[in-house]
């Protein structure tokens, strides 16, 4: 059923990761992602992968949900692994036939890249698992607010993001309703070729567009009625405050980045 699609994958909880300041979480996620790409040896990569796994354990997000977020990238993983194995050469040759050589370096690179991608996904999905979409857009607004100097309307952009997220479930409900209404009039959405199916969507999308515009106008009107004039001089109900744990997390992450750089220096590089 269309209703089962989850938007934003927030998993409610009370772990340290949930309680971290969203701004700090956003910055730290960014820092860790950069760190992943700094890794050159298995040891430094191991350190950051271990960090990701421990963080996932602390987050109290069930392992099943974490695995679910890895599911969509399986194809990418296999694809990159195969390409790496085939096109990277060097070291001991394990297998050679039909002009394809599988070498030690190829296998190493493949494993390295796979671990790197998995770690990347774990860290970035931890952010979305432990932060509600609204908190996240709020954090993006704050983090990007220095861009105001360049006359970029950060607040407006963040508000647009919040509203878009807010209306996704509403639109899904609406699609559901319109689909049922058209099915009740005998619309056939399930059979026929691609063109026929695309045509069958017309009776769904036109009413959807119409109601989306109506909603947008109504919302704009309601916001105007409540004197919304954009970001200028706007205060917030939920103030974000950096706590001790945020700074501890920052120090920890910086230490990990430093560790990665040091390990890179002492061990043989894979890539």
């Amino acid at each position: 059923m269309i209703r089962d699609i989850t938007i934003g994958q927030y998993y409610p909880g009370k772990s340290v990761l949930h309680r971290l300041d969203p701004r700090m979480k956003l910055i730290l996620t960014f820092l860790l992602i950069v760190t992943i790409f700094l890794c050159k040896s298995f040891f430094s990569l191991g350190l950051i992968a271990l960090t990701a796994v421990i963080a996932a354990a602390i987050s109290s997000v069930p392992a099943k949900m974490m695995l679910k977020s890895l599911k969509p990238i399986v194809i990418i993983l296999v694809f990159t692994a195969v390409l790496n194995i085939i096109y990277t050469e060097g070291g001991t040759v394990y297998f050679e036939k039909w002009g394809i050589a599988i070498t030690e370096k190829g296998v190493n690179t493949a494993i390295f890249t796979m671990i790197r991608i998995v770690t990347l996904v774990i860290i970035s999905s931890l952010l979305t698992y432990t932060t509600t979409p609204t908190m996240l857009t709020d954090a993006i607004e704050r983090v990007l607010s220095p861009l105001k100097i360049f006359k970029i309307k950060v607040h407006t952009l963040a508000m647009m993001m919040t509203l878009a997220l807010r209306f996704i479930p509403t639109l899904i409900e609406e699609i559901d309703r319109i689909m049922n209404a058209q099915k009740a009039r005998g619309a056939d959405l399930e059979s026929g070729g691609i063109i026929q199916r695309a045509k069958a969507l017309v009776p769904i999308f036109i009413p959807l567009m119409v109601s989306s515009f109506r909603r947008a106008y109504e919302l704009a009107f309601a916001m105007t009625c409540r004197c919304y004039t954009g970001g200028e001089g706007r205060t917030r109900m939920k103030q974000m405050k950096l706590a001790f744990r945020d700074f501890s997390a920052l120090v920890l992450c910086l230490a990990i980045t430093a560790g990665v750089v040091v390990l890179n220096h002492f061990f043989e590089a894979v890539i």
Partner: protein
């Protein structure tokens, strides 16, 4: 003779297989006879809408059966498709389903899906438009240029043009003014009278239901709590109130009059009925 619609131990769950699994309708056994005008009442979340979505196979029962004209609609794909045409469902705020370039084309959408001939389609569209009061000069207009009430009529015509054996209305008068409400009630009553088809109306408004239904089905907590004639159901005001429902306002007024010792009948359900009784009462007094 088979029933227009019959349900056998019909059960449907929401969020099946998760911790939040709840029965939206639980073991419902109903028979709706051909040519009947049935009203379904129940508070929000009592399972009314889920129930009627089963009648034309929009929802698949988790257990139990839905029989239309004695045939299980989930028997095969073709039967299911035919059931959509046999049982017309007009949703709440049907004007949000309009999409075609012209009102004519929109009303023709259903008949077209039935693969009828061009001539037959035209006949049906004109008939439905006339019946619902869609003006002839509006047929070539964009449906989005009509007023709210006109859109509603056009959308209802879009379901009626399929000329289903059973026509179901979910909250047909939602969002209409009193005049629109009354017109629509008349329209539904006339439709039944002229076509002789089975009509099911789901509503929150006890007045609307009291004014047209032959029989009332009361839904509460996912199952049928009560069913019977207008008299039988509305005479149980106490039970209805316990379910978060009520009797028509006019019935309450008459109950209060009785409480004050004025001799009026208790089974008054429509304003017209009440008006007659009060007038004769006043005339009787002035005659003295």
């Amino acid at each position: 003779m088979s029933f227009a619609i019959e349900t056998v131990n019909l059960t449907h769950y929401y969020s099946k297989g998760t911790v939040q699994q709840v029965a939206a309708i639980d073991n419902v056994n109903l028979q709706i006879e051909k040519g009947e005008l049935v009203g379904i009442i129940g508070h929000t979340g009592s399972g009314k809408s889920t129930l009627i979505s089963h009648f034309n196979g929009l929802l698949k029962p988790d257990s139990g059966k839905v029989l239309v004209d004695g045939v299980d609609i989930w028997k095969d794909k073709e039967t299911l498709k035919q059931s959509r045409f046999k049982v017309g469902l007009c949703f709440q705020y049907p004007e949000y389903q309009l999409f075609e370039e012209t009102v004519y084309k929109d009303i023709a959408f259903g008949p077209k899906n039935m693969k009828l001939s061009e001539a037959e389609i035209k006949e049906r569209v004109l008939r439905a438009a006339e019946f619902t009061g869609v003006k002839a000069e509006h047929l070539n207009k964009s449906p989005f240029d009509l007023s709210g009430g006109e859109k509603r009529r056009a959308a209802i015509a879009g379901v009626m043009s399929m000329e289903p054996e059973v026509l179901i209305f979910d909250e047909p008068a939602a969002g209409l003014d009193p005049r629109g409400r009354k017109d629509l009630t008349e329209l539904i009553k006339n439709y039944r009278k002229q076509t002789g088809s089975t009509v099911i109306v789901v509503s929150h408004s006890m007045e609307d239901i009291a004014g047209m239904a032959d029989r009332i089905i009361v839904m509460n907590n996912a199952s049928v709590a009560m069913q019977g004639s207008v008299d039988e159901v509305f005479s149980k005001g106490g039970e209805l109130r316990e379910m978060g429902l009520n009797v028509p306002e006019i019935t309450e007024i008459f109950a209060k009059l009785r409480a004050r010792g004025i001799d009026v009948p208790a089974n008054v359900y429509t304003v017209e009925q009440g008006e007659k009784i009060l007038r004769s009462l006043i005339e009787g007094r002035s005659a003295k």
